[in-house]
Symmetry: C3
Subunit: 511 residues, 3 copies
């Protein structure tokens, strides 16, 4: 079952020995966590219970640690509460024990460039979606359709997007009075955009390290640590399930609460969490969410939860009190999204493929719209698919709201998309004027379109203010879309861009 | 008791039938919620328990659902815990049952333009303060004295205020190199300022909609959904009790926690929630508020709550351990406020009337002060009334603080009002200079005073920075008033306004 | 034991009388709180239970109120759970009773300028670190080594720092077209920077006040109320233990939760709390921190806490399950900090002494680096001490993370320090250019270096953006360091500063 290079003792005895050893360490184990663990995992725990107690305790609190998989699979679905874990998926070899250290960290060793020899076991540090897919193939497949799983490659391989990241992160220096911006280092990228988008985790040889338990060899990982959603892993897979299902508790209740999403979705570019917390939904979550049940499966609106979280609207399976599925679970969050609200620079219908590097607009740029806003339609879903996705989202709303309410809500969102796109068009016209007048070096000059002052004002227009305004409309946190980072900022910025261009175009420079 | 157009079965039998129907749907009801509901409400629930389970479950968790009103009224006040609900107020016709769907949504049908025929009942969508006043007349009367109940009309009918909203929300376009800002659409207004201030909810005919239970007719509401505090309702009343007492749990515990207020009071124009969360009070609320009791009545400082929330200081009745009332409950929050800190553009004594459209300063503008800060005194409360209101607020502080502490605190607030008003005066002088020099089109030109670049800098001066600084002083969240959005921003903005005007006034344009 | 001027009744009888009096007031006391209190404290409580019920209830919930100190000291350490309270420290005279009002507010009366006669007792309002040191001498000594205990004097006595505070807080007025900024009043300072840094609390005579219990005399305190960390107290001591150990519960659980630190550490100058809440650590704290135990002693990672808070990493004693101390408790938070991330203007190795007024760079300025970034090394800890402190911090991380993870994390922090310092150097070069060209009045002119527009842009560069970026790297809240207030703002600000200088240097003023 596990890759192990030293001869193996008789299982029964070893378990006793290990247990005694653990007892000798003066530690009281949760019996369930101990009883169901495999022999190999027990050997991991003997040391790691002491050297990384936080990891150990998190794991003992997880569902993974509770019971042997065979026991779980023998129970009927509602009581085992393991979502879509199915008897056909779980390999025979993993069924005898619970899911412990060894079950994940020794899977697929030959595929893992980060596999190393650790006390006689072939262990790898970075557990990946391909590892998780051993038992959770449906989730892995869904997630591969999620934009997020491409977050790293989409940002890296799209020259326009990458150039925006460079304008943010690149070091600047003065060279003979001119300001020069260099490309950011890989480490700066890993510490900024790619912290959320995901790094490429590579292996650069081995280093010996003095540990609590003596000198040991470990692989030297680059781009590590990182739990970005589109991380490229040492086994070639993309994504990090642990971005949301935090190691080593892998708690569904954590993933279902808004704080998980807030790690990457509260900045001014995508302030979904802040908008949520300014909405009635967020108010109720904060006020009495602590009496809701974020661990239930099936999950019944009203019975288990009194207000939606991010997961409720975008991901989770929702059921009726009598067990019917009202909303299907999905790890491809665009399944319920007709629009891509996050405009670069305009909001538009959702892309068909999570790989957005394939998109080209009429001008040949890798953008989903023209600079004037017209959509690159062949790469985007059409009205019919939009209606299907809106229907899925409406189904969630209808648990608590009448049809008229829901219709009125989405009419406001449609209108906000239209008006903010219009505002971005005006901002873009001012930018084009600056480029035409030679006040900034833009597309025609082959220069970055994001680094001059007027270009940065334009970036903030759509990236911060238009996006925030649309999110405020989408999530009923209207107050956020007024003065926090919304319509006031949109109109003020247009005025400031206009002044910037206007003053520089006047011959006298006065006023 | 209810408006119903089809013949009515014998109550006893119908209840059995309904209960069987409910059982047939496979649903386990909370018995209390079932037992106390009226026959009409039971008929609503038969469908709505399934089609809007979130609404159903919220209602079952509410006090409204617990018992028949007659039972409640028969108990002595402390145990029934229903605040000021009194036997003289509750109509005879409503006493036999609990307060369910029908009790609110079929009240006063003739007054409601949104009344429609729904399965034989005359139902209206929008429950209003006039509906709630059926049982809660004192609260309704208090709230009518609250600025908030006029939030919609004050903003709409005051040309200066409305012009600020237009400058924020109006779409901008380039017309021959000039920047033109149009008036915002009604839908944009509903999705921005009026989301909190309240829309006018109107009825535009009827639309047929395909529901889970077949084709049905519903009124088409404009300005809907909206729960703004000053909403103008289809029965002509103003306000939305549900802004704070969220449907359909109407939980006092929610209204008493700061998240409810934060929905409209965390933006940079009025960051009360953010200041609170930066204060010692907010720290204690976040640290051990979960062990406090936000549902108690009477509410005893120390016993039930260890730190104030918004409601404690501004609204709630507070009692001593032996039952004396220390602070009277009020839904007119200015009852405890000597000052209106939110300056437009200066802070000033609180207006006498919640209808601020009647105010005129010496210059004839609908503002509570001159542009130079002198108060329009005849419309504002005088020093004596200010002392009375400060006394009420001090009474709350004194539950936990000695007189010297409280005195020192309010001395700092008075000083902050004075210094921030002084800073606004300097900013205003710079604006007047810009107007005089023709650098912006202001009052004299009959133009908006909020749309030019220098005007927008001036708006942010008082609307964001001066207001925030005063709130930080008022609520002991001093840190917020330094670098977050406070004194640093005030002084930096004056410097920036000065540079803006100065550079444009120089003949050469250099420097 | 206590200073008391009227004759003292026999203790037994007086206790009975007091208890009857309390009963007559209709109040049910927690028996423990009553039983263990000293006679003098009982006399305080007779009134203060009624006049300041919040204070009374907070105290009854405190460890101070639970038992007589003699009882506590008789128990073995783990069960008494009183940290480092030791039998050798606690004076004999205080052992018979619990710690109540009198035990603290009548200590060291001769040292307290704020001592006054209060119903026959010599009472002082402001309890100070020197008072607390009576039982907690180790904590007091540690805290004296903490930068925070010097926060008031360092800010006040360092002319550069103070001049920054003046630029933020000073009132500005127009004088013949020129903008003049005056020094802020003491009250404005107390309401801004010194709210966190601490005021000097002085005594200015006595005032008679009408209280609930009649006319009484109280000292008039200046700089009051204030709980700033470096407060200078009426007994000459520095600091306020109550800044974190909030009166009158003095709850360790409150001090260990992040909200306490957030009172002074969430503004843009030092957004530690916001970065934390954007990190995985903050996510877990918010998601399941409510099931963690913030009151345990010893405190065992994994067993009691599933994620770190500010206190875990910077202050608290952490223990292994078998009782070994993994991390020593410290109230000198720099014990675990190799770097001072908060640059003024550059980040640098931590100062040796908490008194930073003694620092002089080569240019003679009271700054820890030159204006070009070179450290004033003789005043800063060297690489060896840095390694020791990093080792202490790493020890905390290793409870949950492997060595490779921790190493990768701190490599990113080192890189962020380097790149943000480099960015600050570029900003400083632009400032020097402005000074050289006479576009702003700087060092050479003997003027404030923080008040001109370009200077304020420079201030925000290091105070807001560079600091935030470093904190985001240090605390694994990378998203905060991109668009929230991080690298985007750094690069945009350099661009804006460059434009500011460039345009003003052009002869024609065009462009």
């Amino acid at each position: 079952m596990y890759i192990r290079e030293s001869p193996r003792e008789a299982s029964g005895c070893m378990r006793c020995d290990l247990r005694l050893l653990v007892a000798a360490l003066g530690v009281v184990w949760g019996s369930a966590a101990c009883d169901a663990a495999s022999d190999t995992t027990l050997q991991c725990l003997v040391c790691h219970e002491t050297v990384t107690p936080g990891v150990f305790h998190d794991w003992t609190a997880s569902r993974h640690a509770k019971r042997a998989l065979a026991e779980v699979l023998a129970e009927p679905e509602p009581s085992r509460r393991f979502g879509r874990l199915s008897a056909t998926d779980v390999p025979e070899s993993l069924r005898a024990a619970s899911v412990g250290c060894a079950e994940c960290h020794t899977l697929n060793p030959e595929k893992h460039a980060d596999t190393f020899d650790h006390n006689g076991f072939k262990v790898h540090t970075v557990v990946t979606p391909d590892d998780c897919a051993t038992c959770h193939p449906v989730e892995r497949e869904e997630y591969a359709r999620n934009l997020m799983s491409h977050a790293k490659t989409n940002l890296e391989a799209n020259p326009v997007y990458h150039s925006l990241a460079d304008a943010a992160n690149g070091p600047q220096r003065l060279e003979g009075g001119r300001l020069v911006q260099d490309r950011p280092s890989a480490m700066t990228e890993a510490d900024s955009c790619f912290a959320c988008h995901g790094t490429t985790v590579g292996v650069e040889g081995t280093r010996s390290r003095n540990t609590e338990l003596g000198e040991m060899d470990f692989p030297v990982l680059t781009g590590w640590p990182n739990q970005g959603v589109g991380r490229v892993n040492p086994d070639g897979s993309a994504g990090a399930c642990t971005a949301c299902h935090t190691r080593h508790r892998f708690s569904m209740a954590v993933a279902r609460q808004p704080y998980t999403c807030s790690q990457c979705h509260q900045g001014p570019d995508v302030p979904a969490y802040k908008v949520y917390m300014a909405s009635k939904h967020g108010n109720l979550y904060a006020s009495h969410g602590n009496t809701d049940d974020y661990d239930a499966l099936p999950w019944v609106p009203g019975r288990h939860i009194s207000t939606p979280t991010c997961a409720v609207c975008h991901a989770s399976m929702l059921s009726s009190p009598d067990g019917r599925v009202l909303s299907e679970r999905t790890h491809a969050y665009s399944d319920r999204l007709p629009w891509r609200l996050m405009g670069l620079p305009y909001a538009h219908a959702h892309p068909k493929s999570p790989d957005t590097t394939i998109i080209r607009n009429q001008a040949g740029l890798p953008l989903a719209t023209e600079l004037t806003g017209e959509p690159a339609s062949e790469f985007l879903i059409g009205p019919e698919e939009q209606a299907v996705r809106l229907g899925r989202m409406r189904q969630v709303c209808l648990n608590c709201h009448a049809g008229g309410w829901v219709g009125g809500h989405f009419a406001k969102l449609d209108h906000a998309i239209e008006t903010t796109n219009q505002s971005t068009l005006t901002a873009t016209q001012l930018l084009l004027q600056a480029w035409d007048s030679g006040l900034a070096n833009g597309l025609a000059a082959g220069a970055s379109v994001f680094d001059d002052e007027i270009e940065r004002m334009w970036v903030e227009h759509w990236l911060f203010y238009a996006n925030s305004t649309r999110l405020a409309a989408a999530m009923a946190g209207a107050d956020y879309g007024v003065f926090a980072d919304g319509r006031w900022q949109l109109s003020r910025n247009i005025e400031a861009m206009h002044q910037w261009v206007d003053r520089r175009q006047r011959p006298t420079g006065g006023q």
